[in-house]
């Protein structure tokens, strides 16, 4: 899930910490918890109550005229500011699309950079309206931390990279290999599971951060480097001779990444969810940034496109948005496929194939419920 060193480990501690305080709000009578954290809990309840009192994030965003969108402090292809300070990337495009859908302007976004340590508190405290930060959708984040994942914009998974000269073509041939692995992450646990399930042995080389891992791997301290597949591809793209290294076909874990919002504000959750779905549906229906102006000018033959672009029906009104909300969202940086190609696709240095992230019609997992 992360290119950055420690975010998964940080999440573990974050979940314990905020899990406890959030619980103390919900089960305010539970004296067992309250006794321990009575002071902290009381203050947290006060803070959360203030956050809940300001519910109606959709109205807040409209009134503010700006969307506060949490992104990473920098992850290749997913979110990073360029030399002029303009943010771009795969996750950033989701923020811009939501801003365009709600406010009609894809630049009406205040990007709030968050680290793995600060992202969940920033969202829970209301500092940001939504988080689009390559965050894995897991049970505990959804249920225990009380966030709503509105969908998946990238299906990631843990993979392996090895030098070509090692001569392996499958991770199952890695018996006895030394593996560079970031300590304290779920990738470490996934790795152990995989090797045990296949009854082969390995020797872990513990590494603190991803950049250290790159150096160690290139220096030959380990035979194989494992982390999320998108991270491996991005890492390999930075090598002097990327062609000397191959990504092994096995993917040993599920890391669905997606944008998330706070629990309990369904209008806002719907706005973000259906903006993401609009991007996906646009690709499925062939609506692109090139032809959207024509298609939205008047109702065409395809009723679903008409409903999506607001030339027919009143879907925008149901969401509490303008009729051309989806058109605005798609016009910012194109449909899902265009966003993918522009930021992380095969034409970029990162060069990720669509793979699991192809449309369901092409054998992938990207699938939007119908606009009806």
């Amino acid at each position: 899930m992360s290119l950055e060193g420690q975010s998964l480990r940080q999440f573990d501690s974050a979940s314990k910490w905020s899990g406890k305080t959030v619980c103390s709000k919900a089960d305010i009578q539970e004296e067992v918890i309250m006794k321990k954290t009575v002071f902290l809990g009381a203050l947290t309840v006060a803070g959360l109550a203030a956050g809940v009192a300001a519910a109606g994030t959709l109205d807040d965003v409209k009134a503010r005229g700006k969307l506060n969108c949490g992104v990473t402090t920098g992850l290749v292809g997913f979110a990073a500011p360029d030399a002029n300070g303009e943010w771009s990337g795969f996750d950033v495009a989701v923020c811009r699309a939501v801003a365009a859908a709600v406010l009609g302007d894809g630049n009406a976004v205040e990007f709030v950079p968050t680290t793995g340590k600060t992202r969940f508190t920033a969202l829970a405290s209301g500092e940001i309206d939504m988080l689009a930060r390559n965050t894995t959708w897991t049970f505990s984040r959804d249920v225990d931390l009380k966030f709503t994942f509105v969908g998946v914009n990238y299906y990631d998974g843990q993979g392996f990279m090895a030098p070509k000269e090692l001569g392996v073509s499958s991770a199952k041939e890695l018996d006895g290999a030394t593996v560079c692995i970031q300590t304290g992450t779920t990738t470490e646990l996934n790795l152990a599971d995989f090797f045990r399930a296949n009854n082969i042995s390995y020797e872990p080389v513990p590494i603190e951060t991803n950049s250290e891992a790159q150096q160690q791997y290139l220096a030959g301290a380990c035979d194989v480097f494992t982390t999320d597949a998108s991270g491996l591809a991005a890492t390999r793209a930075t090598f002097e001779n990327p062609g000397d290294h191959i990504l092994l076909p096995e993917i040993v874990s599920k890391e669905p990444l997606g944008p998330l919002v706070r629990h309990g504000d369904n209008e806002w959750g719907d706005a973000v969810r259906w903006t993401l779905n609009a991007l996906i549906t646009a690709e499925e229906l062939g609506v692109t940034s090139a032809n959207i102006a024509d298609m939205s000018a008047s109702a065409g033959n395809n009723p679903e496109i008409n409903r999506l672009l607001g030339t027919e029906g009143n879907l925008g009104e149901m969401l509490g948005l303008s009729a051309d909300w989806a058109k605005n969202a798609i016009a910012v940086s194109g449909n899902y496929g265009e966003i993918f190609e522009k930021n992380i696709g095969e034409s970029t240095p990162i060069g990720l194939a669509r793979g699991l992230n192809a449309q369901w019609t092409d054998g992938g997992l990207i699938y939007s419920p119908p606009f009806r």
Binding site: L3, T21, L43, T44, A46, G47, L48, A50, G51, A53, A54, T72, T73, G74, L75, V76, G77, A79, A80, P81, D82, A83, N84, G85, V112, P113, T114, T115, K117, T118, T121, A122, A124, S125, G126, E127, S211, Q214, Q215, A234, T235, A237, T238, F239, E240, T348, P349, I350
Partner: protein, 432 residues
């Protein structure tokens, strides 16, 4: 006389011989080398090994440094230019120069503002650091915080003006009442300053910052080395007076003050700085309602100041403890009250003793400001770790950036350390 000497002297030299250079084996570079590098077999061996090490280091690093590429669009572009040769890719520094210094969100057409504030900083620091300069220059120092605030953050000029007025009002009240008692003067001054600030805050019209002469720049847009300098300078200058107050409070005879100071110092010293920073950035946002609360920069300044004040307090306590008891008694016997005794007798001596320790804390504090990168503030290291390394263009570049950061920090820290050595020599009045 000469006549009585029958055998005349055959030769009398009437001029001195010219001075001859010493033999090469007894002076000059040869002797130096012989004495210092090859006096014994063991030393000669060490010299050879050391020379070899230097050669290995230089021969591996100099080609990398000297054939560095300074103009390229991306890491891939650098590698194209180098074409397989060894060489650094300094192009990242030239392309991201402004981002490294000012962060990535400070408006580029306003870069002159922090630059001007940086230049003014030297004018403001000079009279404090070099006390041979005319004392009137201290007016520049007193005005500097307000001018610098206005330059860097912009917005309405009324805010720094009212802040300044509050300080002036506080000072006037203090001057008036301090003759009666120090406490009355101090507390009265603080109260007067707050009154002016509150009234001033109400007088500033809503939206005054929108069409101000200098456009307003929010704190979250600050970054780069500028942020390190701002945090370092603010926190050091705030924590020295606070540290002195804490050190004196810890020696107080009043149990309440003493307990407060001891608890504060021991608590802060017992907690890592990074946890304090997390409290500032993460926990406090839970306690404030959304869209309100204290500016993140201010929260961080408060936390770092508290942290370094606790350390400086302990350093100064050491200085106070090093003074002979006779100094305190001498002050009492002159009939000085507590404030006078401290100001005129005790503190000048205690602070002089404490200079190395205080400078040590200041240098450490300045370097600790990079820790704010973990709470998503984009200081120099934050910029490197986050936006720059994560950009598609520059992903995979490390040495050049961190080398640059270390050069910047070294220059500042070495400067501080050289100043403190000068200061110690300047203040040396004892006979060692």
């Amino acid at each position: 006389m000469s006549n009585s000497n029958s055998s005349p002297v055959a030769f009398v030299r009437e001029t001195f011989l010219d001075e001859q250079p010493a033999p090469t084996s007894a002076a000059g570079p040869v002797k130096w080398v012989k004495d210092n590098l090859f006096p014994t077999w063991a030393n000669a061996l060490l010299t050879v090994v050391a020379l070899y090490m230097v050669y290995v280091l230089l021969s591996s690093s100099m080609p990398w440094l000297l054939s560095g590429v300074w103009n390229a669009e991306s890491l891939a572009g650098c590698r194209e230019v180098l074409d397989g040769q060894t060489g650094a890719c300094f192009a990242v520094l030239t392309e991201r120069w402004n981002q490294l210094l000012f962060g990535f969100k400070y408006p580029p057409d306003q870069y002159w503002r922090p630059t001007l504030a940086f230049a003014l900083m030297f004018a403001a620091l000079a009279p404090v650091l070099f006390f041979d300069l005319p004392r009137k220059l201290l007016i520049v120092t007193a005005l500097f915080p307000f001018v610098a605030y206005w330059l860097i953050w912009g917005g309405t000029i009324l805010a720094p003006i009212f802040a300044l007025l509050g300080v002036i009002a506080g000072y006037v009240v203090y001057e008036r009442f301090v003759k009666g008692s120090f406490a009355a003067g101090f507390l009265g001054g603080v109260a007067a300053a707050f009154v002016v600030w509150i009234i001033g805050g109400m007088l500033i019209p809503e939206g005054a910052s929108e069409n101000a002469l200098l456009s307003a720049v929010p704190s979250r847009d600050l970054g780069g080395f500028m942020l390190n300098m701002m945090l370092g300078l603010t926190c050091v200058s705030l924590s020295v007076p606070l540290g002195i107050a804490l050190a004196l409070g810890r020696q107080s005879d009043l149990p309440l003050i003493k307990v407060i100071c001891v608890v504060f110092i021991e608590f802060i010293r017992g907690v890592p700085l990074i946890t304090l920073l997390f409290v500032a950035s993460v926990m406090l946002s839970y306690f404030f309602p959304p869209n309100t609360g204290v500016d993140l920069f201010l929260r961080v300044v408060i936390m770092i100041t508290m942290f370094s004040a606790a350390y400086i307090a302990e350093v100064i306590r050491g200085g106070l403890a090093a003074l002979p008891k006779g100094q305190y008694e001498a002050a009492d016997s002159l009939g000085l009250d507590y404030a006078q005794a401290m100001r005129l007798i005790i503190l000048p001596q205690a602070l002089k003793i404490s200079i190395p320790g205080i400078v040590n804390v200041a240098v450490g504090l300045f370097k600790d400001t990079v820790l704010v990168s973990v709470i998503s503030m984009f200081d120099l290291v934050g910029m490197i770790r986050g936006p720059i390394v994560a950009s598609t263009d520059w992903n995979g570049i490390y040495w050049e950036l961190y080398l640059f950061a270390s050069v910047l920090f070294f220059v500042v820290c070495y400067g501080i350390s050289q100043y403190s050595q000068w200061l110690e020599r300047r203040l040396a009045t004892d006979h060692r």
